[in-house]
């Protein structure tokens, strides 16, 4: 088992077109680090020195990680992480 990470269209150039990739780690930060080893540059598109980038939303099993623990959010095998750009509604 691993953690499934869904990648938005706009970042699939970094995953050879894959819609979702698998990774491991105890926290979101570790997971992104793990992904970056196989998909160089991915972490930098999601995170800057202040944490998650402003226009990047990340959901752990559909809940926004900014309301869980940000990059320190605990993740475990079987979880699904979804990355999406922020878009307008209304």
């Amino acid at each position: 088992m691993a953690i499934e990470v869904r990648i938005p269209t706009i970042l699939r150039n970094l995953t050879d077109g894959a819609k979702s990739v698998e990774g491991k780690g105890g926290t979101l930060d570790e997971l992104f680090g793990d992904l970056d080893a196989r998909h160089p540059g991915l972490r930098g598109r999601l995170v800057d020195e202040k944490g998650l980038r402003r226009f990047v939303n990340v959901y752990l099993n559909d809940e926004d990680v900014r309301f869980l623990g940000g990059l320190d959010t605990q993740v475990s095998d079987g979880d699904t992480v979804t990355v999406l750009p922020a878009v307008a509604g209304g």
Binding site: I10, D64, F67, L68, P85, G89, G90
Partner: protein
């Protein structure tokens, strides 16, 4: 109830219990029927507040043209108000919105400028901002950054909920402009210690997120994350399933964004049951299902409805 005019009848919508969907007598769900507003959606509130504020501030004067980026409902509400008050109105609307929304907008006299489907409402905002710069005499009320949008809910939706449901523990609503959640959320937080404010954000197909780069993302100026307890991303499939469940079990014919709110509300209800806590969870029925009939949301299998909705903006 008697009102001087249609505009005076905005708000004061019924709050109805959902006995069949509520998990127990201690954990109850409540729906606020915003489809009972004059144009059939919750957006009549912010539209009226924004127009009144602009008139009071002297920004909107007789003969003015209103410009607004909208995926539909706010535009329809503004068009109704504009018709009654004598303004011209132009709406910038993404191509991937339901045909009913376009027909309704035209019916109330709005002119429509389509914006590209890819990028969804982000593109509508971008196009509208460009038009506003080229036409400085047009008045863009700009629902995403207009404090009167959130204020409408702070002054009406919030107080109505508290009056009808003093024991409220959770308020759940769709996240678009963020106005409903910001305004209602702020009011409830000031009056109900520990109240939970929960956002249900629509998750669309890939097309809608088809930005050219991630820095073109958009966060409404009104958004203040500190008002929220948490935020869920609800897929089209889950929203459709709950929309049908609401019709099937409680007889309420709602639009698809209401299904997304119900999905998050049921999630919070399950948490309360697990923790043996009492809960009164309210959410708005933001609009009725009428505008979405052509999307196929209400007939055929769920899978068929979901694929028919692929790429469409449903909130």
């Amino acid at each position: 109830m008697r009102y001087d005019s249609l505009l005076d009848s905005v708000g004061r919508t019924p709050l109805v219990g959902l006995p069949r969907l509520s998990p127990s007598p201690e954990v109850r769900l409540w729906a606020k029927l915003e489809d009972r507003n004059p144009t059939g959606s919750i957006k009549d509130r912010p539209a009226l507040w924004m127009v009144n504020k602009a008139e009071k501030d002297g920004v909107l004067t007789p003969g003015c043209t209103i410009l607004e980026p909208t995926s539909g409902n706010t535009g329809i509400s503004l068009a109704m108000a504009a018709k009654l008050k004598g303004y011209r109105i132009i709406c910038v609307m993404p191509e991937n919105t339901s045909e009913e929304r376009r027909q309704l907008l035209r019916m109330w006299g709005a002119e429509i400028i389509p914006s590209p489907a890819a990028g969804g409402s982000n593109e509508a905002v971008r196009v509208a901002k460009g038009l506003a710069a080229e036409n400085p005499d047009w008045v863009m009320l700009y629902q995403y950054g207009n404090e009167a949008n959130a204020l409408a809910h702070y002054e009406s939706t919030g107080p109505e909920l508290l009056e009808d449901l003093p024991t409220i523990t959770h308020f759940v609503a769709g996240l678009g402009t963020t106005g409903t959640l910001m305004g209602t959320g702020r009011f409830l937080r000031e009056h109900v210690p520990g109240v939970k404010i929960v956002a249900a954000e629509p998750r669309y197909g890939d097309l809608v997120y088809g930005l050219r780069n991630i820095d073109e993302g958009f966060v409404p100026e009104l958004y203040d994350a500190s008002v929220l307890t948490t935020r869920f991303s609800v897929t089209s499939g889950d929203a459709l399933r709950r929309t049908r469940q609401l019709l099937e079990q409680e007889g309420i014919f709602a639009g698809i964004s209401t299904g997304a709110s119900l999905h998050a509300a049921l999630g919070m209800a399950a948490k309360a049951v697990k923790a043996s806590e009492r809960a009164d969870i309210a959410f708005p029925v933001a609009d009725g299902g009428w505008k979405y009939l052509s999307t196929g949301a209400y007939h055929g299998t769920l899978d068929e409805a979901e694929s028919a909705l692929e790429g469409q903006l449903w909130a």
